[in-house]
Symmetry: C2
Subunit: 266 residues, 2 copies
Amino acid sequence: MKAWLFTLGTEVVTGRVVNTNAAYLGRRLTLLGFEVLGNVSLVDDVELIASWLSLVLSGRPALVVTTGGLGPTYDDVTLEAVARAAGRRLVLNEHALEMVRRRYEERGLPLTPERVKMAYLPEGGEAIPNPVGTAPGCWLRHGETIVVSLPGVPSELEAMWEGYVEPRLRKVAPLRHIAERLFTVVGVPESSAAAVVKRLLHRYPSIYVKTHPKGHETRGPVLLVYVQASASSREEAENAADIAAKELAAELENLGGSVTWGGSLQ
Amino acid sequence: MKAWLFTLGTEVVTGRVVNTNAAYLGRRLTLLGFEVLGNVSLVDDVELIASWLSLVLSGRPALVVTTGGLGPTYDDVTLEAVARAAGRRLVLNEHALEMVRRRYEERGLPLTPERVKMAYLPEGGEAIPNPVGTAPGCWLRHGETIVVSLPGVPSELEAMWEGYVEPRLRKVAPLRHIAERLFTVVGVPESSAAAVVKRLLHRYPSIYVKTHPKGHETRGPVLLVYVQASASSREEAENAADIAAKELAAELENLGGSVTWGGSLQ
């Protein structure tokens, strides 16, 4: 089940913030069993966003997640772009309006046009409650694709993901289990490891391996090696990861490497 | 002059690393005067990367920068994708081969096929020296577009950017100067600031404003406000940023906000 991310906002594209949302969602979706193919960050331009969303939707992925652009300001255009890409109108959603109204009423604040704007969703969309901030998210079914739109503020995004989106996605996600192994090899250049990894992947097509150079290729090579197995049961995934990672580690030791299990990619 | 980023690699898309390269390049290009429209991260799939690159190249941007996928392993496919998208063959580049050869000779290591692979560039491409690692980068002119390909390891990317790419881009970059102002407003919800910002942007079309909510919209709003001016001289940009930022701050104070100048977006 293929998935795409759209992490939207001029501040992301121009590098004024680091895109931690893309990493958070990419990881969560992978562990849920989705195959994430890409992440697209675009400036706050409704036509640009709509055209790229249309392109991705035409490939009929199982899931598209957007972040950012749901707030009250002029450059919050994500739901308008989703509506255009999905061929829907943007309509006032009563549930969303109730969520927004409650937030401002708590503080004795009136519903201005900028605040009401946050309650407009693509027709057929369902409002996703935002327990941290003000703007609701949107869950939209478009043909075979689920389009989930969430705010860009990480605390809001993560609360909505964990409290609402992920539990609901688990009901439709593939029953894939992911198992991971990580080890460090000192003394083998990445270019020597490459041939060994290639042969391993030919033997085990459901395994994913990535080598991350941490030292210097020729003057003191250190590789962090990540092995991932995906299978329909947890046990099968864990077994597959074990077998592949141990074989790979043994072959890298044969090349003169010194292996330590564990480590962190960050 | 429009620019696009392609920060490539399955480890980026699946969230095993945070994409700091996108932020670094987005920022550097913006400050050089380029208008960065988007950043695309894709898994290590040569057809997928080539098709998205083709699409972006068809819009004839001034610049496309790719990161990642230049190394010796089976999944390092970026230059093959650039070659396909630009309708070129991938050919052994003598300068690149000399750079690679020198790196391995320093350590008494032979040139294996995996190592030679790093010296294949799209036909017409120029090798960019890598002072930190092994894989050379590539500078390719394709019609009106410059395509720059750099490694994904941040220390290599940054050394090559600062030592080679940026000095060379300065010769073709627009003579745009960027000036920035940052201030914090306590006590004004983003939805109240929105109308003020909208009016300011109508008065000053060359100004860019982004409000970043840092507190809670209704229970204690804190906004970090970023104001950017772009102009053909530094003085003009600084003046424009000063005027717009001071006007905006004054209007937010009129709404009951308390303004502090400075701050950081990270």
